[in-house]
Symmetry: none
Subunit: 389 residues, 2 copies
Amino acid sequence: MRSSLNGTARSGDRVRAVRSPSLVPSDSAGLGFGSRIVLGDCIQVLDALPPASVDLIFADPPYNLQLQRALHRPDDSLVDAVDDDWDQFESFAAYDAFTRAWLKAAKRVLKPDGALWVIGSYHNIFRVGTALQDLGFWVLNDVIWRKANPMPNFRGRRFTNAHETLIWASRDAKARYTFNYEALKAGNEDVQVRSDWFIPLCTGDERLKDGAGRKLHPTQKPEALIARVLLSSSKTGDVILDPFFGSGTTGAVAKRLGRRFIGIERDPAYAAAAEARIALIDPLPEASLANFTTAREAPRVAFSSLVERGLVTAGTVLTDDKRRYVATVRPDGSLMSGPQVGSIHKIGALVQGAQACNGWTFWHVNDNNGRLSPIDALRARIREEMGVL
Amino acid sequence: MRSSLNGTARSGDRVRAVRSPSLVPSDSAGLGFGSRIVLGDCIQVLDALPPASVDLIFADPPYNLQLQRALHRPDDSLVDAVDDDWDQFESFAAYDAFTRAWLKAAKRVLKPDGALWVIGSYHNIFRVGTALQDLGFWVLNDVIWRKANPMPNFRGRRFTNAHETLIWASRDAKARYTFNYEALKAGNEDVQVRSDWFIPLCTGDERLKDGAGRKLHPTQKPEALIARVLLSSSKTGDVILDPFFGSGTTGAVAKRLGRRFIGIERDPAYAAAAEARIALIDPLPEASLANFTTAREAPRVAFSSLVERGLVTAGTVLTDDKRRYVATVRPDGSLMSGPQVGSIHKIGALVQGAQACNGWTFWHVNDNNGRLSPIDALRARIREEMGVL
DNA sequence: ACCTGACCTGAATCACACC
DNA sequence: AGGTGTGATTCAGGTCAGG
């Protein structure tokens, strides 16, 4: 397999562009001037690049998921798992060795003031972060990608795995890394951008499909995520390197944002799809580059947050407006009526024998004057604090 | 077993309860029955506790590298790349050794089905997560505490560090850990709780002050955060251990929520402040804390018992809710569909060509009005008779 | 054109009691 | 202790067909 990846390379030159490996920057593949996709093993390709030649690296390495068995949704449909060969490692030690090897090679090609982003999940991100630190990278932030629409936990055995983690690190502690603070703040209603980013998954038209209409790549990232990475920590004209290029999202975003890129990918099918994808991208007019706003928070408020903040205390007895029914607040934000436990809505429906009930308007607390006040009034106070109306 | 929890203090031990190290559980310090604060080094105290005696551990370990002079010698630290900055490697190695030592000691005192939470930031959480995995803990989720009111980044050189990371891990991959899924969902608008939690910092009256009005402890965590941890992954009466007790937030929340706790703290001033703080806590009313039976835990009912009791008679034809499939009840409680005979679940799956099927909710009978009613409703009547809801 | 509802899908470490 | 059978469990958002 490995030989086929670079079998066309000349002796002593394992680095080759998918197409037109010219010696000067060109754009015959439509990737943008100075940009290219290189087919091959990422460590070998990195080792063949000149040292200190890259401004920023974005890496989406294998996560080393350790899936035990098939998973079905409650409707019995099968979850399309990431079970590709490239994500299989024998042990944590094997994964660590792989991680240290590519990080070390990546560090060599970074300019002295360069920086690196890596994305991962709890399966691998701790290994990556530890390796980074051991190799002398200097962590600047860990950033949370909060998924707007994550896959639920179908068996109800854990919290919804609703985020992934990115680590942003400079080459070393002395590096004068790029951070476009003012532009980010200006695009964020004049508030500093936080370390938690709320961005939807890559779905719909943005998701690349194969000939049969199936997803081309199992882990394609949303362009909005990469755009925020590049806009925050690179400049126009910078060279961005992605050692696990996959479907080429980094290249697509880099081209659109006026950055150059080097994408390394060992699967020829992915590399070809990426090339075709990126060729269709039109760079944005320079004037328009740095505008993004953070997504609005979902205005949903959990009853449990009222309990957490002490607006309603556990043990409080709620009633309806005519004091016909009662229920007791539990510390987890559920309600109890006799032996029944459930949400404010479920228990509201249950005590009335109704199909459904809006618990926010149904249930009331006694205010200081002995008058009843709906819990919805308390929710409004939380929303005010959140800045959401 | 419970008496042995506090029967190990001997003269010469550095393990000592702050007050009243009695041989039986007591509450002379007002901490709640079975709860206590132990003064001493966390590893030594952990080693003196009986094995497999703790349900849940919550740990907020130090990450300040200056604390390392008190750390233990490196045990199995990995010697790796030769070009690393030696000083830095040394300090990380010392932190790793400390982390592995306390995690190993913590694992010993956990019950087989116990679990552990650790909180940290990008300075230390990767080291902790790696050590956890290497020691055989099984990560269940990483959870993001999104701070409602984080400290801004004053110099404008990074993203606002607006979150901290918690790792929730069971003692090992086989552990049947506690997760109060239904109650959490009920308190969250009937939507399962995600891995990102939005909670304010500990400020105002909740923040403990010293005599001069300065904050008593530099990293006091909000009670709301700990409450969500304990409510999600422990039961009333469980023993919660906090090896870095500090200002005693874990104890305060545990007492309020009807859990027992063991707090280990090496600073007598913190331990004393924690004790005083916790003594003032009133546990919530028992009515709001009662454990309840979830659908998973409800006693099994055999379909044959419905037939035996005449709730369904042999020969009845069952259908699904859309009357697409039929099957006939046999006197032994099995179903027959054509030539196939099997359980309500097996036949339900078979007629649909599905992997699995919950026969209780799939199959229906015609009630007196000619409407369909799931056989699960009949099971509920049996469970009522049994006194279980 | 617009609405409704059925159907599909996403980096997932997703049982457990009983014999 | 290993094999077997029961039976509990999903959210947001997109597409697409049909009215």
